[in-house]
Amino acid sequence: MSGLDDGLLDLASVAVLALGVAALWRRDVRALIGLLRAQGVALALVASVEALAGHDVALGATAALVLAVKAVAVPWVLGRVAASDPGAREGAPLINVPSSLVLAAALVGLAVVVGAPLARLSSGHAAALAPLGLATVLVGYLVLVTRRRPLSQIVGLLIIDNGVALVTFLLTSGVPLVIELGGSLDVLLVVVVSTTLVGAMRARIGAEELDELEGLRD
């Protein structure tokens, strides 16, 4: 792996994490979807750099698949739901933006500390970046926990999935194509089902935020 490849890999991996953190900062739902699209591109970049460096055709196909699903299909589905409710903005999140950014910093630190054994699993440069994937997972979880709108929560879930994918690409140079295919289709299915659910929630109960569902208990 050449120096240029290493640099590209660094850049793309950090981009995945940075875009995840940015999702904590933006409130506009459409901006969140844009971030997700960019994250998908960065993830595909990670996979393709590794494919080029290792001359691995299957990994190249996986990169194309990631690009198609995570950068095109999923944002498109989400975008359709967002379009039906233009100008949707996240109300006040459960934790305000500066605090959540500080928390995200703490989570990244935690990920680097607890992810050290992950980095030692394999010797290459790519493995050393694996804690970034773990950090992305944690940040995605934070988005999931602190956001009120269902669509933002789906975005959080997808950031978690992107983090997991990042770890697998960095550690094992990608999983077999079949598994990646299955995983991606699962993600797509989850997104379709949840967006349908969001639509049904809006139509049936008129609820815009998940907290409004609390009254349905019992």
Partner: protein, 661 residues
């Protein structure tokens, strides 16, 4: 092995038949195939018992992640033969009996699966196979309870049963894990010199497995599910539950605790003995006071299984006395076989009575001998066996148990004598109470005059149902009159459980002889003697007195006897209920309503007594309330907020990350 596999294959075919056959043929197909499966497996068991070598085989690919190992030795064969008899009879019975919800596709397939699981358990050769079949047996019987889920009583019974059976299965799993972890082997067949029971871990394994198996056998205080579940299940299912499934609890104790956990401290076995004695007394007392036909039978199951537990506990405690221990174990095996036959018969007959008369309340029955003569005769055979009078199958088992204990009296130290005496006294009292309960069942339920319209109009229909009852009755009578060969075969099974065949009782066609003591049982001689005596009496009566005067028996000079003048089940049990009031704590209501004109004249006296299960009231109700209270308090944890639930997950993830690092 081929025979065994053919049987299991037929059992699978029965399940498929029950699930796929069209509505009309479903019950017939599944019942026939199940009975055939039981027959094949039973023949395989009898062949092993009769002196054939233990059969075994292992099959990979049947269950995921594990290999199925089957192994049938003499001990397993002794239980599998009993189970096969009960399953065959109950399956044949269901052909003529099942209708309504219990003839639905699910119910018929589940019943076949339950029958198959019962047949597999004694043939399981390693821990995973055993636990899989055990759990299948527990879950299918639970599902079968829920077949009739429209009735609240069935739902409540299922809830109790689910909690108890799953707790028991968990305990057995843990105990077997401990055992096989120590043995470095998952086999259920340890070498004779195993010391797996030694030390604290051995005691833990014993407590866990014994609690699990004893709860299946209805040991107090883990019995609460049994008197609820057995009466609520469909009749063929309750016969299988009572005749076969409870026996498998004793099988587990004999196989795992007696066979595998060698070197266990004696105190644990004495504990089992005490539990068994208490169960026997408790079951017999409740059987005496029950007025519900099936509930009486369920409590009587607790009673017989309690005697079995007592004998097994004594066998474990007196393990060093070869002859006594072997006699006790053979006694338990005979008792299990006898109980399987007569209890299945009684449960099936109870089902017929309930269908014919519309009630199971003994207070409203009576006089069934008129309309249901053959059923009554068959029930009388079973009752004779249950009471433990000579020539009944139950007698042979109890005689062997008592002889084993008496044999231990003369040959052991002070500790052994006390153990044997306690067990003897408990068994003696239990036998007396059982006799009362069984006399009540036959005398109040079937003889006398009808006390209700249902009982008056009850008629029996001859067919496959009566045939299956007859099958069980023949088995009972055969075991009672020709027990010698059976005892000789079961002695080998006891040798497997105890690790050595030394000192076991033997038997020939007409004699059962004890190895240690010069005592023998000659039932055939008794039969001949009784036949001769009867003939003599008949001849004398015919020729001695010419004048025959007919009058109503026991009429005290009155000719206008009224059904209301008879004993009812409640009044028959009342004296004993009064004697044991401190234990039973009955709720007695006496409502007196007066004539309007005068307070002195009583118009109606309504006496009602209900005996609740004291253990359930004293132990389990408070436990359930406490768990319920904790659950209510803990509701704030699940507030319904999505974010809170997500935050729980997030927090746990962070904690795990930090801790695991």
């Amino acid at each position: 092995m081929d025979l065994l596999l053919a049987g299991f294959g037929t059992g699978l075919a029965a399940i498929v038949g029950g699930a796929c056959a069209p509505r009309r043929a479903r019950v017939v197909v599944a019942g026939t195939l199940s009975a055939l499966a039981a027959f094949l497996v039973g023949v395989a068991g009898v062949r092993v018992l009769a002196g054939g070598a233990a059969v075994h085989g292992s099959f990979s690919g049947v269950l995921p992640f594990t290999t199925v190992r089957l192994r049938l030795d003499a001990l397993g064969a002794s239980f599998i033969s009993t189970v096969a008899l009960v399953v065959a009879a109950a399956s044949l019975f269901s052909i003529g009996y099942s209708r309504g919800p219990s003839a639905s596709r699910t119910a018929v397939a589940l019943q076949s699966l339950f029958a198959l699981a019962l047949l597999v358990v004694p043939a399981a050769g390693d821990v995973t196979t055993f636990l899989t079949s055990w759990e299948t047996m527990a879950l299918t019987s639970l599902a079968l309870l829920l077949v009739d889920h429209d009735r609240p009583a069935a739902r409540a019974a299922a809830l109790w049963y689910a909690a108890m059976t799953q707790a028991g299965a968990a305990a057995i799993t843990l105990g077997l894990l401990v055992t096989s972890g120590r043995a470095h082997s998952s086999s259920l067949f340890a070498p004779a010199s195993s010391h797996l029971g030694a030390g604290a871990l051995g005691a833990v394994a014993f407590c866990l497995t014994a609690a699990g198996f004893a709860s299946k056998a209805g040991a107090v205080p883990l019995h609460v599910w049994l008197p609820r579940a057995h009466p609520e299940a469909a009749t063929p299912v309750s016969a299988m539950m009572s005749g076969a499934m409870t026996a498998l609890g004793l099988y587990g104790l004999a196989r795992v605790d007696l066979g595998l956990l060698g070197g266990l401290a004696r105190g644990w076995w004495i504990g089992l003995l005490v539990v068994g004695a208490l169960s026997a007394l408790f079951g017999a007392l409740h059987a005496v006071t029950s007025t519900d036909l099936k509930r009486l039978l369920a409590y009587s199951t607790i009673d017989v299984m309690g005697v079995g537990l007592t004998a097994l506990g004594a066998a474990g405690a007196l393990h060093s006395l070869r002859g006594a221990a072997a006699t006790l174990v053979v006694g338990v095996l005979v008792l299990v076989a006898a109980h399987g036959a007569f209890k299945a018969l009684l449960f099936l007959a109870a089902g017929l009575v309930e269908r014919a008369s519309g009630t199971r309340d003994l207070d409203l029955l009576g006089g069934l001998a008129g309309g249901m003569g053959r059923t009554t005769a068959l029930v009388a055979v079973a009752v004779a066996s249950a009471v433990g009078v000579p020539l009944g199958a139950g007698f042979v088992g109890e005689w062997l148990v008592v002889e084993g204990l008496v044999g231990a009296l003369g040959r052991s130290g002070a500790g052994g004598v006390v153990i044997a005496l306690v067990a003897l006294v408990a068994i003696a009292l239990t036998s007396g109470l059982t006799a009362v309960a069984m006399v009540k069942l036959l005398g109040i339920g079937f003889l006398g005059r009808p006390r209700g319209d249902g009982a008056r109009d009850a008629r029996e229909h001859l067919g496959i149902t009566t045939f299956s009852l007859g099958l069980l009755a023949v088995a009972t009578v055969a075991l009672g009159t020709v027990p010698g060969p059976v005892v000789a075969a079961l002695a080998r099974a006891a040798g497997v459980a105890l690790g050595t065949p030394a000192g076991a009782p033997g038997g020939s066609l007409d004699t059962v002889s004890l190895g240690a003591v010069a005592t023998a049982l000659r039932p055939l001689a008794l039969v001949t003697g009784a036949a001769v005596a009867t003939a003599v009496v008949v001849v004398l009566a015919r020729f001695g007195s010419r004048t025959v005067r007919s009058a109503i028996a026991w009429a005290c000079g009155r000719a206008d006897l009224d059904p209301r003048m008879q004993y009812t089940a409640t009044s028959f049990a009342e004296p004993l209920q009064r004697v044991f009031a401190d234990v039973l704590r009955p709720d007695v209501d006496l409502v007196v309503s007066h004539e309007e004109e005068s307070r002195e004249i009583e118009r109606v006296l309504a006496y009602q007594s209900r005996v609740d299960d004291a253990v359930e009231r004293g132990v389990f109700r408070p436990l359930v309330r406490a768990v319920d209270a904790v659950g209510r308090r803990a509701r704030w944890i699940a507030s319904g907020s999505v974010h809170r639930h997500l935050a729980y997950g997030f927090a746990v993830l962070l904690v795990v990350l930090v801790v695991v690092r």
